[in-house]
């Protein structure tokens, strides 16, 4: 019996190859889309799962209040870790680490930039790192020890033992490799190529002794039995207590590793908000909807085909088929189709995962033997097969044999209603996604094209490192002498990422109660011209800061806080027991966030650091490859030990859009898929409708209806359905996007043209899909159709 089921299932699939392909392909596309998203979700929610102590690991957060708003930072002072480990019960380990550094590691003639951190040895205990060479005891026995991860060790020493070998760091000091640890997996919050004992860092940075300087990350592991709220209660005013009430501008709390990846966003009252979880949830919902739509589509196309099989059902019943055997037959057909779809989907997943990864900047992999993946695919097969097969199975098998043999039509009834409802649902999702994609795109373009207050094109960034600071004047002169370079400016932080800020600034007329957090940048006299910034008032620094050692330049935002017209040249700022004279006001330029309406207040100090960023502004129309090689030659000549690495300021700017572009990419993929699957649904419904109305079409044609008129008649019904979808999708789309845009201060207004565009697109695609059927029905020989009916 089963053999007959399978055989006739295969024959039926083969007999209607076109339909079977559409049906299977549609489901496969749905499964593929859902599977890719679920892989991404899996990756996101299992982040850091490989740390055995995950549930006991925390990072120390710092709450600071400025001007009524609460800011949450992840920065702590140097003495913090040891003090809490000593004083607070329940803390098993506390370890400090810096924010990560790119160091040039050199072994023989191999010199590579590698990223790592200075960290307390306890961090490796908290993270349960596994040693491949060396051990925990000897790893940090000497100050000039360095621990490498496996791939870095392999890069320098191949298969040889690395422990005991010497590595030059930044062409300055030699370190001995004291341990090699396993690489952390891709979805880990911690990634090190190397680790050096934090003590080494502390020796070079005496400010780390200060309770008032927050510049480090502190990671904590609690005892499994520890009482978190008791620990947090002590932490809240811990710094204040330790400094006898001297340091009061921050309060601390522990933030669990389990929430780092999904939340870690805080509102202006300091309350935790959903971070990535928002997107994860949104895309999970969309993935389920796509899967559901694909699945119901599958069912829809099958019922639409039922008309053709009504006679077969009647005949089978007449020769004695029981209803349950018919049900089994249809279910086995659906299951076989679903199995094909799952197999095809697996192929599609393997084919598309590479592009999906590059689109989302992830490193997802499919492992078919992984039980969750197997269960997922098996679950989809059974769910889709049974769900998609059940309706046609029960519907077709209920046909009255006598009527079907006589050729009478079975009334669609609720089935027709469901089918129409489904098309409306599908198109609502499609129109909604089109609206979202277009608005996200507009918002990105709007921000990208805004006036940033500086010229970002044709500016090349490279790091100031090694001996470059010593030869800076020579480098600048040589670069300008090429004739291709206009200006070369320097600042300590890249202006797209100004990490330092401070409070405690004072000026005449300032409300003594208000605490304002002001960003700080150290720059030279060429910084402003190299980025084509303009001055609102006053002047720029003089070359070599002659007479400008206590001068500062402020941005217009700060100047306007001090005085409404912003003309504050000549006034003094009081900070850190020093007086600084304002010599100029630079017109506002955007730094850090490109989505704010105005930049934060900023002070620019005239300081030459040994490290920082060089802004090399090329002249218009220069030969870029030639200019780059000139720059490389000049910099390498002055700093031979370091490789020349550069980035265009444009790229740095564009990287600010990474996460929003990711959302846009996902939304557009789903929009296209959703339209595609909706078209399949519409195609099925149109074919069903054309079949149902074949007699009517023939009669109308005989009576003189033109083909155009008939095509229009068949289209009308679907245009109405799609229009209904638009009516549902418009308010939803407006609401979603209004909410989404709300998180950007610099944003577009939603335009009605977006809705018009989405509606036109949806209707156009619907008409194209339906018209192929309508055309076939309208051009068929009417007498033949009438004879068949």
């Amino acid at each position: 019996m089963i053999k007959i089921f399978i055989k006739s299932a295969f024959r039926n699939l083969w007999k209607t190859k076109g339909y079977s392909f559409l049906n299977i392909f549609g489901l496969a596309v749905g499964i593929t889309a859902a599977a890719l998203i679920f892989l991404w979700v899996e990756d996101q929610v299992t982040k850091n799962d490989h740390f055995p102590n995950k549930k006991d690991i925390y990072v120390v957060k710092s709450k600071q209040k400025y001007d009524g708003a609460t800011y949450v930072f992840q920065a702590t002072p140097g003495p913090f870790a040891k003090a809490i480990a000593d004083d607070i019960a329940g803390i098993k380990h506390a370890a400090r680490l810096d924010w990560g550094q790119n160091f040039l590691l050199t072994v023989g003639d191999k010199a590579i930039f590698q990223r790592g951190s200075y960290a307390d040895p306890a961090l490796l205990d908290i993270l349960s790192v596994e040693y491949v060479q060396g051990d925990r005891r000897s790893a940090f026995s000497e100050l000039n020890n360095i621990v490498l991860n496996e791939s870095t060790a392999k890069r320098f020493f191949g298969d040889e033992a690395a422990v005991g070998k010497t590595i030059r760091v930044n062409n300055d000091e030699s370190y001995t490799v004291s341990g090699v640890v396993k690489d952390f997996p891709e979805n880990s919050s911690f990634k090190f190529d190397w680790i050096i004992d934090f003590k080494k860092y502390q020796l070079a940075n005496p400010w780390l002794e200060n309770w008032g300087s927050n510049g480090l990350i502190t990671v904590v592991q609690l005892e499994p039995t520890a009482n978190l709220s008791a620990v947090n209660a002590t932490l809240l005013d811990f710094a204040k207590a330790k400094t006898n009430g001297e340091v009061t501008f921050y309060q601390n709390f522990l933030y669990p590793m389990t929430r780092w990846n999904l939340y870690d966003v805080f509102d202006s009252d300091g309350f935790e908000q959903e971070g990535a979880l928002k997107h994860i949830r949104l895309f999970s919902i969309i993935a389920w909807v796509v899967l559901l739509i694909a699945c119901i589509n599958f069912m829809n196309l099958a019922t639409a085909r039922s008309e053709k099989r009504a006679k077969e059902v009647g005949m089978r019943k007449v020769v004695g088929a029981k209803r349950y055997t018919l049900i089994l037959q249809f279910l086995s057909e659906a299951l076989i189709s679903a199995a094909f779809a799952v197999m095809l989907a697996v192929g599609l997943i393997y084919l598309s995962i590479g592009s999906f990864n590059s689109l989302l900047n992830t490193n997802l992999t499919v492992d078919l033997l992984e039980p969750t993946h197997l269960y997922f695919l098996g679950g989809i097969l059974l769910t889709c097969g049974l769900l998609a097969g059940s309706y046609p199975a029960f519907y077709l098998s209920s046909f009255n044999p006598l009527k079907t043999l006589k050729g009478a039509k079975q009334k669609a009834g609720t089935a027709g209603f469901i089918r129409r409802g489904l098309v409306v649902l599908q198109y609502t999702a499609s129109v909604l996604l089109v609206i979202c994609t277009v608005i996200i795109y507009q918002q990105i373009q709007h921000t990208k094209n805004r006036d940033l207050g500086f010229e970002r094109s044709q500016v090349i960034n490279t790091s100031l490192q090694g001996n470059m600071a010593k030869h800076l004047d020579v480098i600048k002169d040589q670069l300008k002498a090429t004739g291709n370079i206009e200006d070369v400016g320097v600042s300590d932080n890249n202006l797209m990422d100004i990490g330092s800020n401070a409070s405690g600034f004072d000026w005449e007329g300032k409300d003594p109660k208000s605490q304002i957090l002001i960003s700080i940048l150290n720059a030279d006299d060429d910084f402003i011209p190299s980025l084509s910034m303009t001055l609102h008032d006053g002047r720029n620094f003089k070359p070599h800061f002659t007479g400008d050692s206590t001068s500062v330049i402020v941005n217009a935002t700060l100047a306007k806080m001090m005085q409404a017209d912003g003309m504050v040249t000549g006034q003094t700022l009081h900070w850190n027991n020093e007086l600084h004279t304002i010599i100029g006001v630079v017109n506002d330029f955007m730094f850090n966030s490109v989505f704010s309406v105005n930049p934060e207040p900023l002070v620019i100090f005239p300081t030459n650091y040994e490290y920082g960023t060089l802004y090399i502004k090329t002249k218009a129309g220069v030969d870029l490859p030639e200019t780059l090689s000139q720059i490389e030659r000049i910099i390498k000549a002055n700093n031979p030990e370091y490789p020349f690495e550069y980035r265009f300021l444009d790229e740095t700017f564009n990287s600010k859009f990474t996460s929003v572009v990711r959302v846009q990419n996902l939304a557009s993929i789903f929009a296209v898929l959703s339209i595609f699957i909706s078209c399949l649904g519409l195609f099925g419904l149109a074919s069903y409708s054309a079949e149902q109305r074949a007699k009517e079409i023939s009669i109308r044609k005989i009576l003189g209806a033109s083909i155009g008129r008939l095509v229009g008649m068949l289209n009308k019904e679907f245009i109405l359905l799609v229009s209904l979808s638009c009516l549902i999708a418009f308010p939803l789309g407006w609401w979603f996007m209004h909410d989404w845009l709300g998180s950007y201060k610099y944003r577009i207004d939603i335009s009605w043209t977006v809705f018009l565009l989405a509606a036109c697109l949806a209707i156009l695609i619907a008409v194209l899909t339906v018209s192929s059927h309508a055309w076939r029905a309208a051009t068929a020989n009417p007498t033949k159709t009438l004879k068949e009916q």
Binding site: K695, I699, L703, G704, A705, S706, R709, L786
Partner: protein, 225 residues
């Protein structure tokens, strides 16, 4: 009115070619009532479809009202059809979703007759076939005879020169059948040319001339009067 010469019609499938009409010649004068008879499968319906421009001919000539129409494209045929030819089928072929009035109105819509004029003409013709009282009913609510009267009304509402009837009484009992035949006779007497395919010798007697076919050819023509 109709002059068909050396008509050939084949039906082809992948493997076989069947000759449906073979070297057929027919001549119908304006105002004539012609019955076409013959066993099932002899090609009479195919012939009717070709005369009604619903089907192509493969070879030969078809002159309708002194115009050669064998090579007409779909648009021209549709145009000629809706202005000149009315159809009556054995299975009535009314549209189930439309009322009696709307069914009869359809041909007028397709010839762009204005709404007021349409109403007048539909009502006239419904009066004529005595179905006016059922104008707002749906086809399923009518008896077979009534449905065929509606179909006849629909066929004549555009005042066609030619009515093609394919076994118009095949689904009717004898009294309803006679009613329909009387209706066709009246139309013919008013000047409409009628070509009717039938199995019934009784119905054939209503015509002026009987053409008998076998295997796609005319084998005999007899005048009934």
């Amino acid at each position: 009115m109709i002059k068909i010469t050396n008509l050939q019609k084949f039906y082809r499938t992948e493997e076989v070619e069947t000759v449906a009409l073979n070297d057929l010649n027919i001549h119908v004068q304006e105002g004539e009532f012609v019955a076409v008879m013959g066993p099932s499968g002899c090609g009479k319906s195919t012939l009717l479809n070709i005369i009604g421009l619903l089907d192509d001919l493969d070879e030969g000539s078809y002159v309708f009202n002194n115009v050669e129409v064998a090579k007409f494209n779909e648009r021209k045929r549709s145009d000629l059809r809706k202005h000149n030819i009315g159809f009556v089928f054995q299975s009535f072929n009314l549209i189930d979703e439309l009322t009696v009035f709307e069914n009869v109105e359809l041909p007028l819509i397709y010839t762009n007759v204005p709404a007021a004029e349409r109403k007048k003409r539909v009502e006239e013709v419904l009066e004529k076939v005595q179905i006016m009282h059922r104008r707002n009913h749906f086809p399923q609510q009518l008896s077979g005879g009534q449905q065929q009267r509606v179909a006849v009304a629909r066929a004549v509402v555009n005042n066609p020169k030619l009515i093609l009837a394919d076994e118009p009484t095949g689904n009717l009992d004898s009294s309803n059948g006679n009613e329909v035949m009387n209706l066709l006779t009246e139309l013919n007497e008013a000047g409409t040319t009628i070509v009717m395919v039938t199995h019934s010798e009784h119905d054939a007697k209503f015509s002026d001339r009987v053409i008998r076919m076998l295997d796609g050819q005319v084998i005999m023509e007899t005048t009934t009067v």
